[in-house]
Amino acid sequence: MDTLNRNNEIWLSHLGGAGSDQQAALADLRAELLRGLHRAFWSWKGVDDDFLEDAVQDALLRILDHLGQFAGRSRFLTWATAIAIRVAMSELRRRRWQDVSLDEVIADADFSPLWTAAKDAEPTAGWERQTMLATLRDIIHQQLSQKQRTALLAELKGMPQEEIARHLGSNRNAVYKLTHDARKRLKQALEAAGYQAADIHVAFAE
């Protein structure tokens, strides 16, 4: 069957089925994902055919495991390509960061330099911004757990969540929850101190 003629329902029924229909659908999906990854990563350094073929292989397993998550509100191939891109990106990030330790990235996980940095870097910063930063520093120290501070700081330093998770013995969803809870806590505490989201935008708009 021509790939382009498979609608979402047929993709699902063939991939979730057995026999020659399933084999043909898998072969076509593999070829389509490879083309999709080529388009997505053609300008990336260190991405070659072997890398993309491995990524597609891993992605196929993940897609088959999660067919039930496909709600049919996009083309099936777009949905599957998004998953293949995540698989490939995760591997690229792992390679890029594998020799970097969490300690190296955060160096000082208690945010103590926040205020010093703010004052030194911008001695003429507005009073409002300076007092907001002082408030933020206090909230970070008093209301966030050590783990939340570590994850948030590593994220600000550009470390991918999967890599933070690897160091913390966790996973990407759990790290997201950790930093989301931290952001919520900071936002609530800033609001309780009289700063609304709009003030924050004004003081930090660049």
């Binding site: 388009r39 990106m89 933020l136 948030l152 700081l153 330093k157 969803n173 930090f204 660049e206």
Partner: protein, 78 residues
Amino acid sequence: MLLSRKEIDSLMKLIGLTQDVELNCEQCLYLIAEFAERELAGKTLPAGLQAVEQHLSVCAECREEYEALQQALRELSA
């Protein structure tokens, strides 16, 4: 290691964009295809997909993956 002004600004922007309820990266992944196709077609976003837009605003990795997906879709339709 000090936080640079840029990093302090990033933190404050993230706090400003934070919502009480947010999608996590896995939930975002399963909705991103619909979001990308609608964006590409210039269609308005239904309420359910605004959560994707919000997640992309606070999650650098999902944003990077979304840009790669856009690239794949654009090349396809070009």
